[in-house]
Symmetry: C2
Subunit: 344 residues, 2 copies
């Protein structure tokens, strides 16, 4: 079969690789119907050292079960399934607590002999715990929104949930990428009364307004923070959903959060320290969030996706075949595409 490999910064290739086969009795083989390129794929795309040997890449996919191992129950060939971006047994103490990202038996796609999602098929370890069956056919028009359940929509949801967003909560979302827009959608779905989206790409913030943003702040840095303060009577918002992950956006987050409020982060940290000394301590700011345990949220979010109450698939503004995945990376890296859907 063919799959995507990354060889270094800016060097993504489509190559022939061995067809996936069952190895463990807990495996399944899934033929990929839709995959995506994630904002976090752009970090290795921007900085991975060049190597002779490539790595499989891609961690968001939805597909059809082709084969299941002898210890997999509840899934049969022909089932349409979505895979969270971390596989997990879904039975251990962490999984039962809804923290599948900490499952000691789990892992991420594209590493340690596990296939990446941007290919024709994937061997899925711990298939019974990992895969969620979707009550749709292979040709469903909902596939784009359903594949967002692999990562981007539940990641936005995790950000909003850990921040404690609810009715009467004011929210600032930092970042108009696919995660930021998904966080807007999630905050709206949870009833937030006011959602200020910080982003300066007009096309994206327009979608943000459709998703529920009540205000858009295009300014960045101190100017942007001042604008959010102005919009909130000087206080800032109860919660800030930090969906970028740079030192500058984290600094902005603490500037726009209200005293006693919560900053939640889901942007993969491009920093190792956070300035949380006495000034933040004195304001009683909470920092929460982290890598989203997507598996914990899929069943909860699925009905609203199936009913069309939310349409998270609107974040896709480009669809490519497998051969054009390298173009998709370029388009996302150049900010010409918001998020790329892959149709192998």
């Amino acid at each position: 079969m063919r799959a995507t490999l990354i060889y270094g910064a800016g060097d993504v290739r489509i190559e022939d690789v061995p067809d996936p086969k069952l190895i463990e009795p807990t495996d399944a083989v899934v033929r990929v119907l839709r995959a995506c390129i994630c904002g976090s794929d752009l970090w290795p795309y921007g900085s991975r050292p060049a190597t002779e040997q490539g790595d499989r890449i891609g961690h968001e996919f939805l597909g059809v079960v082709e084969e299941t191992g002898s210890e997999v129950s509840g899934l049969t060939a022909g089932d349409v399934v979505v895979a969270p971006f971390v596989y997990a047994d879904n039975t251990c103490e962490y999984c039962r607590a809804g923290l599948q990202t900490s499952c000691p038996h789990g892992g991420v796609w594209g590493s340690q002999g596990v296939d990446g999602g941007q290919g024709e098929a994937v061997r899925v370890p711990l298939a019974q715990g990992t895969l969620v069956k979707l009550p749709v056919g292979e040709d469903s028009a909902l596939l784009p929104s359903l594949v967002t359940l692999a990562d981007v929509f539940p990641t936005g949801h995790h950000c909003a949930v850990t921040a404690g967003v609810g009715p009467r909560t004011t929210v600032t979302v930092i970042g108009d990428g696919a995660v930021g827009l998904s966080a807007v959608l999630a905050a709206k779905r949870l009833g937030a009364e006011r959602i200020i989206l910080m982003g300066r790409h007009a096309g994206r913030t327009a979608l943000g307004r459709d998703f529920g943003a009540t205000d858009v702040v295009a300014e960045r840095g101190a100017e942007g923070s001042a604008r959010v303060r102005e919009l909130t009577g000087g206080f800032g918002t109860h919660t800030v959903l930090e969906c970028v992950g740079t030192p500058a956006t984290v600094e902005t987050a603490f500037e726009v959060v209200r005293d006693g409020g919560t900053v939640s982060r889901v942007g993969a940290p491009q920093y190792s320290e956070v300035p949380l000394g006495f000034p933040v301590f004195g304001r009683n700011i909470t920092l929460t969030g982290g890598i989203a345990p997507v598996r914990a949220y899929i069943e909860e979010l699925l009905p609203d996706v199936l009913d069309g109450v939310v349409q998270p698939g609107r974040v896709f503004d480009r669809t490519v075949g497998l051969d054009d995945v390298p173009d998709g990376y370029r388009a996302m890296a150049d900010r010409q595409a918001l998020k790329v859907l892959v149709r192998p």
Copy 2:
């Protein structure tokens, strides 16, 4: 009257100062019955640059109202009252939200022309919002426990509350100082099922056991963290109450917290950055806490103190008169005293 002033590191003096008088119509004058030396007083005692002019010091006190301004209602001469360590109007938006430490009209004792608590009397700004009347007489045996409502007990309570401690929560308390022991007491009062106290001063940890600690870990650093992990099946505890505030104790906090858990901090930060990069992000750890809005908790904690359900005053192991306050500082700095009660 006489009051305590600090002139530099290790240099605390008792001096004659002008008697407090009403200045604003919202003021009251309170004669001090009991004051305390706080662990946080030891920071200036350890490092304040020497100056010609001293600063008033002390922020924990309980006393008798002597006089009230024309705009103070609900308080009359003779009332026994406790003052939180931050004064506040208790009517603004932040105060109504229970965050009196962010009151824009509030401030701290001993600065900007406001008296310190370690003296014979104090002019209390915003008296009606700040002071809480206590239904006891001047000679009540409960005064030591009641004066802890000014800071140390509600600070431990704030740590436990923001961490989300409740029944079924496992807790690690870092620090066997008065705040750490108060956090143990607060966690127990909130129903925590298991409380591991990290501290190595046997007399203090013995009081910690009386307050509700189920385990004591005397080891520090990596060894201490390993011991907590061992006690919790390798997981760590759901919550960690960080009651010291050094880089080393914050590091320990992240080592002993369970994935998905919460570190709450009330130890005044002796650091400006916290290592919260990808490893902590990947574990979904929340960092919360901050300077305790004591005023928000006094009414809630008061009944249990009056009924003797909790005896937070047991943290005092030395009582001094005003003249011996410098000795009290020395004893606390040398760790010969856990917490010093002042009886002017």
